[in-house]
Amino acid sequence: MKIGFEVHLQLRTERKLYCDCPTNYAEVPPNTNVCPICTGMPGAKPMRPNRAAVEAAVEISLMLGCRVQTGKPLYIQRKHYDYPDLPSGYQRTSLPLALEGSLEGVRIREVHLEEDPGQYDPVSGSVDFNRSGIPLVEIVTEPDLRSPEEARRFLRSLIRVLEYTGKVRPEAGGAMRVDVNVSLEGGGRVEVKNINSVKGTYRALKFELQRQAERLRRGERVSRETRAYLESQMITVPMRTKELEEDYRYIPDPDLPPVLLEEEWVEEVRGRMVEPPHLRERRLVEKYGLPPASARVITGERELADLFERVAREVNPLFAADWFRTKLKKVLNYMGLRAGEVGFSAEQLLSLLKMVEGGRISPEQGELVLRELAREPADPEEILLRMGLLPLGRGELEELVERVMEENREAVRDYLAGREEALNFLTGRVVRASGGRANPREAVGLLREKLEELRGKGQTS
């Protein structure tokens, strides 16, 4: 099985690609972020491509290890097709800005800059042009993937790279569109369009794998064709022949000069570029000795990895990594927060981790504090105080232990009779009686001490 991708993701710029309209298309009433240019009114001429969009595409290319096409004219092409969402009857797409990169062993063929069309609502027959002209980056891979699972993993990695730049709109917001090419040994290449999520891609591939394999098994041909993925039914269906025979009649856009990427500028972008996540993941394993699974989770978001590297300077990285992978990630998921959205500072998290690492509070208590920290950021000391979680003093603990032993004579007798599990029961009582402030490890130690003392007394008396 051979699978290749064409992935389109919206770039996060303030302004559209060929005009000055703002890009927050989803937040405003239909057809308000529009002008003669992005609605293709007769006579409107595009502005030169938005520099911020070109830079984002170049940065993405560099992060994917591509060779940026510096010093040669890169024409903006008109791709003609007929659809209600396309106000001029053509979409502008650049010649490749960069070639021949790779990501986790998958070869990247090329990277383009494109413009988004408007949004057509077939039910009402109306078009909203707010989205028209939003910049898109298009990434084309070689057919290097071998299974739907591999494809899914790769797509996630690719999205992680794009999101690391901070210059794309989140995939989860529907800003992504995927076309996928898939072929089995002995069959023709099938292109599936109209996919807009990782999950959808996986399902479409699973379906195609089954469909094509079944045909081949029955001795039928799998012909080269273009199909559409139907999200609602999780299947793919052939597209109309008219759409297949389409000839886009590409011509260089006579209204735009070619883009020229200067070597020096590209190097500047490279200098400012953040470390790509796949490389960072490898570095975290090598530098801190993290288990690969932890490194993968931690590099899942740039801000999460930044946070990790900040705290790993002052607490044990393995300890921190474990906390990140289990507790922190759990709390964030529970609260539906991305690492970039948390309100607490690295210093606050660090001070919490130090408390746990130093044994001042238990990991369980630490998790309670962490939840509070995420909910309502404050200094962890303050949270401890607020939650009544300040660790017990030795005297207080001793008092509690004695009281619990007094109130649970039967359990004490059981322990003295050699039933070790009674100790766990008593510890639980101490922690509960402390309202969670008692450190279970400390409590268990003290209990054992007192019980043994009692045993000694019992023997002498």
């Binding site: 000055d20 003669p36 293709g40 009114m41 007769p42 006579g43 409107a44 001429k45 595009p46 502005m47 030169r48 008109r78 003609h80 007929d82 209600p84 106000p87 001029s88 009857g89 053509y90 000839d247 009649r249 011509i251 006579p254 209204d255 735009l256 000069p257």
Partner: protein, 451 residues
């Protein structure tokens, strides 16, 4: 009274902008039924003229100070109809001002109305308008030329002070020649195109038509110069031309390929003018554009492909009518040709080759301009036909033989009246290198003054 005299009268208060407008409106009222130069008058023109008068009163009349400007119907003027003289856009009302219109307003120009033209600027006779042909006030019964037919006719008939036309393959120069007025196709990228409805985007330029060379120069000084953000503009902030220079000692080129296929009567008129330039002290030299004869076919291939692309938006959804269903023959022919030759399998064969030819022609002009400062010659190789006379497409295209090379090469070219043949005006064409407007305007001014 020439353009400068009119401007003086407006500035001194001898004539108000409103009076100026109303005199034209009266003439239009009388003459337009016959001439069909205007498709729509600006209902707000009087208000706009009043505003200009107030500005003049404050000493802020701008460079145009109430001069009345006619606008070709392929240029967007907010609230007016830029129909391109086509059924396709007959219901289209402009939602914005073209950049040149913004500039004209800023300088105190008053837009009087939208002029007739060949449909989508595809034509050289003025007959292909969906709203009826334009007449030629200087040679009644004959075509006015095209495609800026209404603009040239309006200037010739004294229905406006100045007019905007557009020139993709000669559409300003050709009607200027047939109507006996002055016209200029600026260097590609000198005048903003934002708001100009496309024919061939790599060739289109907006330019002035006027009764005299001073009018051309004045309007150019108002509309030329960089439009921030617009893709294909030259790095020129603004222009200012000195026209009264001496042509003595200027190196002026003539080209055998220009006269080769041209009506001898036209050549004769042009040669008399070349002689006049020699008398004024210019050095006349012969230069060659060896591949000139290929310009026309390269031009039609390029323009068709670009026009095909530009018309994809007229799909019937936004503007109500699908272009292929309502347009005239010539527009349909170009769309069909553009669609055909831009097909994947033919691209290398036609479009790419046409672009190569274009490069070649550009080089030939550029080497000619290393030897001479300007080139002079005929504008149109033959005299206009009678309105209504049927011509084959190839006969029609032949009108453009001498004007398309300037568009292909991206250079500037202007036309002034050189004389007449049997009562029909004949214009002489002066071509100059990129941004050579001042030079060609000077030569044109000298020719005009010596007429």
């Amino acid at each position: 009274m020439g353009t400068l005299g009119k401007l003086q009268a407006l500035r001194s208060g001898e004539l108000s902008a409103v009076e100026n407008l109303e005199r034209f409106l009266e003439r239009i009222e009388k003459m337009n039924r016959e001439l069909n130069a205007f498709l729509q008058l600006n209902p707000r023109a009087r208000e706009e003229a009043e505003e200009v008068d107030r500005r003049i009163g404050r000493g802020e009349g701008g460079r145009l100070s109430g001069l009345v400007v006619a606008v070709k119907s392929n240029i967007n003027v907010l609230g007016l109809r830029a129909t391109c003289a086509s059924r396709t856009l007959e219901d289209y009302v402009s939602t914005y001002d073209a950049e040149v219109i913004t500039r004209i307003r800023r300088e105190g120009g008053v837009v009087v109305g939208m002029t007739n033209m060949d449909e989508f600027a595809c034509g050289s006779s003025g007959e292909s308008s969906a709203f009826g042909p334009t007449g030629n006030p200087s040679a009644p019964g004959y075509i006015p030329g095209g495609s800026s037919s209404g603009s040239a006719a309006a200037v010739a008939a004294g229905l406006c002070d100045l007019a905007l036309g557009t020139d993709t393959g000669g559409s300003i120069r050709n009607p200027a020649s047939h109507c006996g007025v002055a016209g200029l196709k600026p260097t590609y990228g000198l005048v903003p195109r934002h708001g100009l409805i496309d024919l061939g985007m790599s060739l289109d330029q907006i330019g002035p038509l006027a009764p005299d060379v001073h009018g051309l120069s004045l309007l150019m000084e108002c509309i030329a110069g960089k439009n921030p953000g617009e893709g294909m503009m030259l790095e020129v902030e603004r222009v200012s031309y000195e026209l009264e220079g001496d042509v003595g000692g200027m190196r002026i080129g003539v080209c055998p390929q220009f006269s080769f296929l041209t009506d001898p009567r036209i050549n004769e008129v042009v040669e008399r003018k070349v002689e006049r330039l020699r008398e004024l002290g210019a050095e006349v030299e012969e230069v060659s554009i060896p591949h000139l004869e290929h310009a026309l076919s390269a031009y039609y291939l390029i323009v068709s492909v670009e026009f095909f692309s530009a018309t994809r938006r007229y799909d019937g959804r936004k503007y109500g009518k699908r272009i292929e269903e309502v347009c005239g023959e010539e527009v349909l022919r170009r769309i069909a040709m553009g669609s055909y030759i831009s097909r994947k399998e033919y691209r290398g064969k036609y479009y790419q080759r046409a672009l190569q030819l274009r490069t070649l022609i550009r080089k030939e002009f550029s080497s000619a301009f290393r030897r001479v400062e300007v080139l002079v010659g005929p504008t149109v190789p033959k005299l206009p036909h009678r309105l209504g006379q049927k011509l084959s497409p190839l006969e029609m295209y032949a009108y453009d033989y001498l004007t398309v090379p300037a568009n292909l090469a991206g250079i500037c070219a202007g036309v002034v009246k050189a004389g007449e043949v049997g009562g029909i005006p004949v214009g002489i064409q002066v071509q100059g290198p990129p941004l050579g407007e001042e030079k060609i305007l000077r030569v044109m001014r000298a020719l005009e003054a010596g007429a």
